[in-house]
Symmetry: C2
């Protein structure tokens, strides 16, 4: 018998420090990476103790994919990027989270992946509010 | 009216050059990246002209996720990795393809993503046949 203690979802402290909250989809918390170099969203399924996709029930995996597609479509609509990068890595932050990033040949990392390239450029205060409002509208999210 | 010409699926020539064929799932071609440093599978949905996840019908996106989960489970079973990395990038090879990679703190790139780190180490001929046979069995694939 496996004893489990129900624990609430808690966002990893590093994800919290590196992002701004956009809102919640049915399954996932939606975050804006605080790096103005790339249009970069992060989805975090709001269930405790998730590390791998396989830790989600199959129905929730499908829901996560639908939510990735919503994030994908919002970035397409706002940025018409050359390419989208979608990834669940988790080598540093182990809590299951999915990156959805709009990429262009002019960006700071192209054609490499964005992780570990240069230093993040935090959004300037005056840009941040507008950026968040625009993304919330495109994602149909309300804080 | 949009005129379309039906074209068959054709694997991108660079993906073909960098991998060995493991077989086909219902939707995806399953490839082994020819880099013995990492247990590294690539899934390529066998439909023409796909670039983004959003180019797939929603039902096929779910099927792709189920196939990613099968690849994920096979690598878990064979390698019990510390972490799986799953990613659809496509900055270099634009044909939609999904990486499923078993990662460990002792591997050649940890904790960085694998792309662009060092040089691929091709499987030695004598190891390759056994590696392919083991993976096909774990993936329930037949060439």
């Amino acid at each position: 018998m496996k004893l489990t203690i129900d624990r609430p979802f808690a966002l990893d402290t590093r994800l919290q420090a590196d992002t701004h909250l956009l809102g919640d989809f049915a399954l996932s918390r939606v975050l804006l990476m605080n790096d103005a170099r790339f249009p970069w969203l992060i989805l975090v399924p709001r269930q405790p103790d998730l590390r791998e996709l396989g830790d989600l029930l199959a129905t929730d995996r499908h829901l996560l994919l639908d939510e990735i597609s919503r994030a994908d479509e919002a970035l397409q609509k706002l940025h018409a990027p050359h390419k989208l990068n979608i990834a669940a890595l988790g080598n540093v932050v182990e809590q299951l989270h999915v990156h959805v990033i709009a990429r262009d040949p002019q960006d700071a990392a192209w054609p490499r992946p964005v992780w570990g390239v240069g230093n993040a450029q935090a959004y300037a205060g005056e840009d941040l509010g507008e950026r968040i409002a625009t993304l919330r509208a495109a994602l149909d999210l309300h804080a």
